[in-house]
Amino acid sequence: MPKEYKTPMLDELEKGPWPSFVKEIKLAAKNSPMSNDLLGLLERSYNERIGHWKHGGIVGVMGYGGGVIGRYVDVPEDFPNISHFHTIRINQPSGWFYTSDALRTLCNIWEKRGSGLTNMHGSTGDIVFLGTKTDELEPIFSELTEAGFDLGGSGSDVRTPSCCVGPGRCEWACYDTLKLCYDITMRYQDELHRPAFPYKWKFKMSGCPNDCVASIARADISIIGTWKDDIRVDAEEIKNYDKAGMDIFNDVVLNCPAKCMKYDAKAKAIEINNDDCRHCMHCINAMPKALRPGTDTGAVVLIGSKAPIVEGALLSSVLIPFINLDDEDEREDFFDLIEEIQDVWCEEGKARERVGEFIQRVGMGNFLEAIGVEPIPEMVAYPRDNPYVFYEDYYDDEEEDE
């Protein structure tokens, strides 16, 4: 007979219009003593206003250095069923597409061998199986393998790449995000499963500058779709937006950051100076039936974003202003460059130093030299305004003398 916990605090969170995680834990608790203890533990945290989880320690499956996050409760005497309660990260399919059968297979494994609780999905993008015991890890791994699934990344490795829905269901996708995500994931299986980097390394892929997977804020390599030719315009549809009551001048034209649109209010016609367009997506978002990205498409590659730990948060900045990832040669050059960057960072980076912090420490100019990329104006918001320039000619001469 599982222990029955009174949970007046948590019960309060079963009320209200938004779906309740408490209801979910209770559903799982019907079959799982682990989830039942989790309910009791969480009620205790709500009363005491403090968490009760202890640091990881090394747990995992044979031959893998990541994918499992060790978790132990700090009051195992009171909650013995969650004395270990490890998380398993499972690499999601690109774009989070599933069939009902695939989901049921995952549920069956997790019903037998874990808490029955999941995150769909973790913020990394992985499927998260929340809570199991150490001796279940190997069996879960082999059952997942049989079902065609594999573990995701954790620790100082390539983290599970993720991408937006892209060409699967979005008219704005400027390259095949789903395929690139899959290809990168498959190419870096070893780096994903066996941590050997100074710190984590994330790839995220968005099909256009709307950046639905927030790649510019949280990926070491952010790959954001864009186009080079003109925005496609359907003149009739612009008239229809006007007829439907849209304030095209104020809401679309005046919001253009490049001030490169003109509106002829009589003819209900838009004229775009595409040379000045910044590819921000605003006008296209506002009038999806009338405006579309061009057809000469590719991506901007940016580098270095991260959350605050350790040295402060960073946004990614431009590394390659345009690349056609459908072109085999450009693709191979891209991978060569990525691997060059990883080599330099592994060689010179400090422990727990993300590549963005590494660039801040050594200087973008020196970093570019090390990876063999020429500096270009697209890489800066503005050139330096600080006159403490470390001119290098003098030092270069000296080195030659030695």
Partner: protein
């Protein structure tokens, strides 16, 4: 050799997504022409071929049981030939080519307690992390605050429009799993006391040089306490980030009275109109008041309503504030401007107001 050295398959990677694409997507892959939002939570994408796919977007608590996943699977079987997907913000989307199925899916989902919505200008699900459910470093709970805030704002998910998209995110500590720091409204768990050092265990559990190196403000020095190698923390230099606790379990910071929540505003990720930007501090500290964190829900609602009343169409919170200025933001929200609002870390001077252009 049965039973002995069986080949153990590794590194198979995720399933190829192509196995999971509905036929209409396979057929029109990369050939979508435009989309419309016939009602909140429902999108129809139209392909060059004229084919249509309807997506019904449904909010979920993210922390879900296998019972609920099986329910999703059942609904997908009934109306979507077994196909469905999840979004980057923890929503689930049912994909169907049959227009009549839209209302049926909506009804089933709502009966189960999962609302349909989250498209267009408004509020979609809150990206969030683990909190007291599963993490050692949590300064607050994640799921509980998210539930309370979404209960309060659910009308903006299901029916009411706002000037633009409003992305809310929550992280339960400064590690910020998820892109919290670039959100329209970010709810961030904070510690406010230096680590308590368990001198008996520092040397046993941790590597002293890496503990010292972990501190962004160099507040940690090796020292000997009662004859044992340990560390000391220069208290005035500590900004409670918990980096040290991450590398050394013998240095916990969690504390019921001192932990709580800070609120940040005006970040964005998308490149539309203005460049992506970080969120800025709006409220330095609110206490942990489970189960419903009323101070937090009220603060978030205040921000949403003040912005909704004052912004122009398409203006995200950060874009609105950029136009009217921070003094106006603090005046309209009534939030107190305090010492903590002024940056004092590296490059702090860049955030000072270096102009005489001020509004009255």
């Amino acid at each position: 050799m049965p039973g002995a050295m069986q080949e153990r398959l590794t590194d198979i990677g995720p399933p190829n997504f192509e196995e999971f694409l509905p036929p209409v997507i396979k057929k029109n892959y990369g050939q979508w022409k435009y989309h419309e939002i016939p009602q909140k939570g429902v999108m129809v994408h139209v392909a060059e071929s004229g084919d249509k796919i309807y997506s019904v977007r449904v909010g979920s608590p993210r922390l879900i049981s296998i019972d609920t996943i099986r329910f999703y699977a059942e609904v997908a079987d009934k109306y979507c030939d077994g196909y469905l997907r999840f979004t980057s913000r923890h929503n689930v989307e049912f994909l169907t080519t049959v227009e009549e199925n839209v209302e049926k899916i909506k009804k089933e989902m709502e009966a189960y307690g999962n609302p349909v919505g989250g498209t267009g200008p408004g509020i979609t699900s809150i990206v969030h992390t683990q909190g007291w459910v599963h993490c050692h470093s949590a300064a607050t709970d994640a799921s509980g605050i998210v539930k309370a805030v979404m209960d309060d704002l659910s009308e903006y998910f299901t029916s009411k429009d706002l000037p633009a998209k409003c992305r809310i995110a929550l992280a339960c500590c400064l590690n910020m799993c998820g892109a919290v720091h670039c959100s329209d409204i970010a709810i961030l768990g904070v510690h406010r006391k230096p680590p308590t050092i368990d001198h008996n265990n520092v040397n046993k559990l941790c590597e002293i040089p890496s503990v010292s190196a972990s501190c962004p403000t160099a507040a940690i020095r090796p020292s000997t306490v009662d004859g044992k190698p340990s560390v000391e923390v220069i208290q005035e230099n500590c900004m409670f980030c918990a980096n040290c606790y991450t590398v050394c379990p013998a240095m916990p910071l969690n504390d019921p009275e001192m932990d709580g929540v800070s609120i940040w505003v005006g970040g964005k990720v998308s490149n539309a109109r203005s460049a992506p930007k970080f969120s800025k501090l709006a409220i330095p500290y609110l206490p942990n008041t489970p189960p419903r964190w009323p101070e937090v829900t009220e603060a978030v609602r205040t921000i949403v309503e003040v912005w909704a009343d004052n912004a122009r169409p398409y203006e995200r919170i950060g874009e609105w504030i950029d136009r009217v200025g921070w003094p106006r933001f603090f005046k309209l929200t009534g939030f107190e401007f305090q010492k903590e609002h002024i940056d004092d870390f590296k490059h702090a001077g860049l955030s000072f107001n270096r102009t005489a252009q001020l509004t009255r």
